[in-house]
C-alpha cells in the first residue's frame, strides 16, 4: 500500500472541508479571537469558542478563576498596554474590546475586526440583564446564537437551583465587600452585577443605598454600622490586602460593629464584579455555598 504523504492528506482534508455543509457564517469555525476583557473572554469559553489570546491572563486565577483557561491561550499583556508584537503573531480575526480601551482602537483596527461591547456605561441600568444582552450580541456576531441561548438557559437554571437551595432556609440579608485597607471597603449594591445576582437567588442585600453605575461604592468601615439588622452577614471577597485582618482585629471601629462577632464575617474566594454571566454564576454559587453551610 502506498504510504499516505502529508501532501495528499492535506489535499483530501481540503476536499473534505469544501464538501462539508457550510454554516451560516462560514469563517466562524476557524476564527481566531482575542479578548481584552475578562468577562467577554469567559463568555467566549462558555460559547465553546477558545480565544487565542486574553489580556492580563497572568492574573486570571486571582480574579476570575472559573472557567479554567486552556493552556493554548496566550497572554497578550496588560489590557492598557497590549503587547502588539504578540498580538500580531497570534493572527487574530476578531478582537473584543470595551469602551475603556478606546484609545487603542486606531492601533487595533488595522490588525483585525474590532467588536466593542458597552456593558458598564452610565446609562446601562441593572448589569445582569445588560450582560445577558451582551452575551446574545456576542453570540450573534460570532455565529453562535444557539450556544448563547443554551448558555443563558444553563445560567438561568443554575440561578434557579441556588434559589431553591436557599428558600427552605431562613437566609439573612448579606452585605458584600472587598477590603481596600483596614479603614475602607468597597461595598456592592444596585445596579451592580453582584446585587442583581443576589436578587436573582432570592437573598436580600443588606446595603440598600444605590451605588455608582458599576455597582460599588467606597465607604469607611464605620459606615457599615448603618446596617442595623442584627442577623445580617458580611461577605468579603479575596484578595484581602495582607495586613487588613490583623489591623481590624485591633481596631475599635471594627470591633464594635455587629459584623465583628464570630461567624458574621466570611472571607470568600475571589469573584469578579466587572464580569459577565459566568462571573455572576460563580458569585451566586459562592454565596449559596456560604449561606447553606451556616444556616
Amino acid at each position: 500500500m502506498r504510504a499516505i504523504s502529508r501532501r495528499s492528506l492535506l489535499c483530501s482534508a481540503a476536499a473534505a472541508a469544501t464538501l462539508m455543509p457550510i454554516p451560516l457564517l462560514a469563517e466562524v469555525a476557524g476564527q481566531r479571537i482575542v479578548s481584552l476583557d475578562y468577562g467577554l473572554a469567559s463568555t467566549l469559553l462558555s460559547l465553546d469558542l477558545t480565544p487565542v489570546g486574553i489580556s492580563d491572563l497572568a492574573d486570571w486565577g486571582k480574579w476570575v478563576v472559573e472557567p479554567a483557561v486552556p493552556a493554548s491561550v496566550s497572554d497578550i499583556g496588560s489590557a492598557y498596554e497590549v503587547d502588539f508584537e504578540v498580538l500580531i503573531q497570534l493572527k487574530p480575526d476578531v478582537i473584543l474590546t470595551t469602551p475603556y480601551l478606546d484609545e487603542l482602537l486606531p492601533k487595533l483596527r488595522p490588525i483585525a475586526k474590532v467588536l466593542r461591547f458597552e456593558i458598564f456605561t452610565p446609562d446601562s441600568g441593572p448589569i445582569l440583564p445588560s450582560v445577558m444582552a451582551a452575551t446574545r450580541k456576542l453570540g450573534s456576531e460570532l455565529g453562535r446564537d444557539r450556544e448563547a441561548e443554551r448558555f443563558l438557559a444553563r445560567a438561568d437554571e443554575f440561578f434557579e437551583t441556588c434559589r431553591t437551595r436557599l428558600t427552605a432556609r431562613n437566609t439573612p440579608p448579606v452585605a458584600l465587600v472587598t477590603f481596600m485597607d483596614a479603614r475602607h471597603a468597597r461595598i456592592y449594591s444596585a445596579p451592580g452585577l453582584f446585587h442583581n445576582a443576589l436578587e436573582r437567588i432570592g437573598v436580600k442585600n443588606a446595603w440598600t443605598r444605590q451605588s455608582n453605575y458599576w455597582g460599588f461604592e467606597t465607604i469607611g468601615m464605620e459606615e457599615l454600622s448603618a446596617i442595623t439588622d442584627p442577623a445580617a452577614r458580611l461577605i468579603a471577597f479575596d484578595p484581602v490586602p495582607p495586613d487588613v485582618l490583623p489591623k481590624l482585629a485591633e481596631s475599635p471601629l471594627w470591633q464594635r460593629l455587629p459584623f465583628s462577632r464570630p461567624g458574621h464575617l466570611t472571607i470568600a474566594p475571589p469573584a469578579l464584579m466587572f464580569g459577565m454571566v459566568n462571573e455572576a454564576m460563580r458569585f451566586a454559587g459562592l454565596v449559596t455555598d456560604i449561606l447553606e453551610k451556616d444556616a
Binding site: G77, E81, R183, E222, D243, K247, P252
Partner: protein, 655 residues
C-alpha cells in the same frame, strides 16, 4: 544669656505658629463630631473621632517629630545640612524591605514588620554611609548616593508592586505614606519607641555637641568618636524605620524641620535637635490637617507623604537663598587615569556596544507564550514597525540626556550636575502636566510646554547662580526639591482618579509604549541637530570650565555663550523627557561613564556620552519590553534600576 534666649525665641515662635495653626485645623476637623449629640449604641461620628481622627492627629505629631529628629541627628553626626531619611535613602530602604517581604514572605510581616523595616533602612544607611566614608563624608557625594539609592529602592518597589498586583499599581518614587488610622495601636507603639530613642539622644547630646569642635578637638575632650557616631546613626536609622514601618514614606519632613529650626535661629546642636523635633511635629500636624480639610472624604486616600513633599519642597525653595553656604565642591578635574584608556579605543568600544544593543533591540523579542525569538520571516516588517519607534526614541533620548549632562557639568563645574539632579527634567514634566491638563495634548504642543518648563527651571537656576556663583548645594537642593514636588503632584493627581493623570504617570515612569513612528522620527532629528550644535560648541565647553577669567582672556563672550549652552541643555532635556520621563538618570551616568573611559576633552566626551547614554537607554528599553513580556516595564524606571547601582560602584571606586 540673652544670646541664648534669642536663639530659642525664633524656633519657639515657629513652633507656636505651627501648633496654633494645627490646633485651629484640628478644631475644624473635630468640631462637628464634638458638637453632635451623643446617641447610644454605635455612633458613627464619635467613633470616627475617637478611633480615626484623633489617632491620626497624634500619629502626625509623632511621625513628624520622629522624622525631624532623625534628620537633625543625621545632619549633626554627618555634618551635612542636606542629610535626612529621604535624602539618605533610609526611608526608601525600609519601604523596599517591607514591599519585598510582603510580596515574597508575607508570614514574616505579622510580628516583625519593624524588624524588616529596620533591616532595610540599616542596609540602606550602611551602603550610603559606607560609600560616603570612602569619600571623606563629602556632603554632596553622600546625598547623591542617598538620592540614587532612594530612587533605586522606590523604582524597584514600584516595579515589584506593579508586577504582582497590576490592578493596584501606583508608581510612586518619593512618597506614598498614608497617615489614616483605625485605632490607637500605631500612635501608642510610636510613643514608646520614640521615648526610648529620645532617652538615648538625651544621653549623647552633650558629646554630640562637641563634634562641632572638629575631630581632634572632640577626641581631646574624651569623646569616643566611632562609638558615638554609631549610636547616633543607629538612633536616626531606627526612627526613620519605625515611622516608615508604621505609616510609609513621608518625604522631606526630616530635611525641612532642621532647616527651619536653623533658619529661625537655633544654633547649638542641642537647640537644633530639640527644636527641629518640635517643628517637624508641628509641620506634619499642619500639613496632614490641611490635607484632611481640603480633601474631605478623599483625604483618606491622598497619600500624605506625597502631600508633605508638595508642602515641603516649595518652602525649601523659598528658604534656599537664606541657607548659609558651608561647603564647597571640588571642581571637575582632568583625571590622571585618562592615560589608562586610549580615547579612540573607548569610542570604538562604545560604538560597538551600542551597535550590539541596537541589534538586540531591533531583532530580539519574545513571542506568544513567552519564548525568546529572533526576528525573521513572516512578521519581519510588522514587528519591526512596532519595535523600531521605541528603540529609535530610546536611542535619541538617551543620547540627548547624556549630552545635556556633559554640557551642564562643564558649565556649572559641578560633577553631580545633570538634567535629573538639577530638576530640569522635573521642569519639563511640569510643562507636560500643564499641557495635558490645560490644553489639548499633541506631540508638538507637549514639546513646546516641556521646553518651556525646562527653560523656566534653567532660568531660575541662572538667576540664583548670579547671586551665589553657582553654589552647587543651592542648585542641587533646588533640583531635588523640584523633582520631589513633581512626583508628589503627579502622585496626588493620580490618586484623584483623573484619567489624564494615568497618562502623566506613564510619562513619569518613562514608558516608550505610546511612541509612534512620527514621534520617533521627530525625536531622532531633534537629537541629531542638537548634538551637532553641542559638538560645534566644543571650544566653549573646553574653555568655560577653566573659569571666567581665562575664558574672557581668550575672547569668549561669557554671558551669551553660557546662555546659549544652557538653552541647548534645556531643549535637549525637554525633548528627551517627553519619551523617557524625568527619572532615567542617564544624564548623570552618560558623562560620568564617558569621563571614566578617559574621554576628558569636550569633543570626545560629548561623542562618548551620546553613545553611552543612547546605549543605556536602548538597553533599558529592551529589558523593559522583554523581561516580563508580555507585560511592559517602563524604560525610564529600568534605566534608573540599571544605572543607580552602576553609579554607586563608580563612586565607591574613586575613593
Amino acid at each position: 544669656m540673652t544670646a541664648l534666649r534669642r536663639d530659642n525665641l525664633g524656633p519657639a515662635l515657629v513652633v507656636c505658629c505651627l501648633l496654633v495653626a494645627g490646633c485651629i485645623i484640628s478644631w475644624l476637623l473635630t468640631a462637628p463630631a464634638l458638637s453632635a449629640s451623643k446617641s447610644s449604641g454605635y455612633d458613627v461620628q464619635s467613633m470616627v473621632l475617637y478611633y480615626s481622627t484623633l489617632p491620626r492627629l497624634a500619629t502626625a505629631l509623632l511621625a513628624g517629630g520622629a522624622l525631624a529628629l532623625s534628620g537633625a541627628l543625621f545632619q549633626q553626626v554627618l555634618r551635612n545640612p542636606l542629610a535626612d531619611p529621604t535624602t539618605l535613602g533610609v526611608s526608601a530602604g525600609a519601604n523596599l524591605a517591607i514591599v519585598v517581604v510582603s510580596l515574597f514572605l508575607p508570614g514574616l510581616l505579622g510580628a516583625g514588620r519593624d524588624v524588616v523595616a529596620l533591616c532595610g533602612s540599616a542596609a540602606a544607611a550602611a551602603v550610603v554611609i559606607g560609600l560616603g566614608a570612602r569619600r571623606g563624608f563629602s556632603p554632596y557625594s553622600l546625598v547623591l548616593c542617598g538620592l540614587v539609592l532612594s530612587l533605586w529602592c522606590g523604582g524597584l518597589s514600584a516595579i515589584l508592586t506593579y508586577l504582582n498586583q497590576r490592578y493596584l499599581a501606583s508608581l510612586f518614587i518619593w512618597g506614598a505614606g498614608s497617615l489614616a488610622q483605625q485605632s490607637w495601636a500605631i500612635p501608642v507603639s510610636l510613643v514608646w519607641k520614640m521615648a526610648i530613642i529620645a532617652i538615648i539622644c538625651a544621653v549623647v547630646i552633650r558629646p554630640l555637641s562637641l563634634l562641632d569642635l572638629g575631630e581632634s578637638g572632640s577626641t581631646a575632650l574624651g569623646v569616643k568618636l566611632a562609638r558615638l557616631r554609631m549610636v547616633v546613626v543607629a538612633c536616626a536609622v531606627g526612627l526613620a524605620a519605625f515611622v516608615t514601618s508604621a505609616v510609609g514614606v513621608i518625604g522631606f519632613i526630616g530635611l525641612v524641620g532642621p532647616t527651619l529650626a536653623r533658619l529661625a535661629g537655633a544654633r547649638r546642636p542641642a537647640q537644633v535637635i530639640v527644636w527641629s523635633t518640635l517643628i517637624g511635629a508641628g509641620l506634619l500636624f499642619v500639613a496632614d490637617g490641611t490635607l484632611q480639610l481640603a480633601a474631605g472624604g478623599l483625604g483618606d486616600f491622598l497619600p500624605t507623604g506625597a502631600v508633605t513633599a508638595i508642602f515641603g519642597s516649595p518652602l525649601l525653595l523659598a528658604l534656599l537663598p537664606r541657607l548659609k553656604v558651608r561647603h564647597r565642591i571640588q571642581q571637575v578635574q582632568g583625571r590622571p587615569s585618562a592615560s589608562r584608556w586610549n580615547m579612540k579605543v573607548s569610542i570604538v568600544v562604545a560604538s560597538a556596544v551600542l551597535i550590539i544593543l541596537l541589534a538586540l533591540g531591533f531583532f530580539v523579542g519574545r513571542g506568544p507564550g513567552g519564548g525568546w525569538t529572533v526576528l525573521s520571516g513572516e512578521y519581519f516588517n510588522e514587528i519591526l514597525a512596532i519595535r523600531s519607534p521605541k528603540v529609535v526614541a530610546a536611542l535619541a533620548s538617551g543620547a540627548m540626556l547624556a549630552v545635556a549632562g556633559v554640557v551642564l557639568q562643564r558649565l556649572t563645574g559641578n560633577e553631580m550636575a545633570s538634567p535629573e539632579v538639577l530638576g530640569i527634567s522635573a521642569g519639563a514634566t511640569f510643562g507636560v502636566a500643564i499641557a495635558l491638563f490645560a490644553v489639548a495634548p499633541g506631540f508638538s504642543g507637549q514639546l513646546i510646554f516641556a521646553v518651556g518648563g525646562a527653560i523656566t527651571v534653567l532660568a531660575v537656576i541662572l538667576l540664583g547662580a548670579r547671586r551665589s556663583q553657582f553654589a552647587p548645594e543651592r542648585v542641587l537642593l533646588a533640583g531635588i526639591a523640584l523633582s520631589a514636588m513633581v512626583d508628589a503632584v503627579v502622585g496626588v493627581l493620580s490618586s484623584t482618579g483623573d484619567p489624564r493623570a494615568v497618562l502623566l504617570m506613564r510619562w513619569m515612569s518613562g514608558s516608550t509604549y505610546l511612541v509612534d513612528g512620527t514621534t520617533a522620527t521627530t525625536e531622532i532629528m531633534i537629537a541629531a541637530v542638537l548634538i551637532m550644535i553641542a559638538l560645534l560648541a566644543r571650544r566653549w565647553l573646553d574653555i568655560l570650565p577653566l573659569g571666567p577669567a581665562p575664558a574672557a582672556a581668550v575672547g569668549l563672550p561669557l554671558a551669551s555663550s553660557r546662555l546659549a549652552l544652557f538653552g541647548l541643555a534645556g531643549f535637549m532635556t525637554a525633548a528627551a523627557t517627553l519619551t523617557v520621563g524625568p527619572l532615567s538618570f542617564v544624564g548623570l551616568m552618560g558623562p560620568h561613564l564617558a569621563r571614566e573611559a578617559g574621554l576628558t576633552r569636550a569633543l570626545p566626551q560629548i561623542a562618548g556620552a551620546a553613545l553611552i547614554g543612547g546605549g543605556l537607554m536602548v538597553a533599558a528599553d529592551f529589558v523593559g519590553r522583554t523581561i516580563a513580556a508580555p507585560y511592559q516595564i517602563p524604560a525610564g524606571l529600568v534605566s534608573a534600576l540599571i544605572g543607580a547601582p552602576f553609579l554607586m560602584i563608580l563612586l565607591s571606586k574613586r575613593a
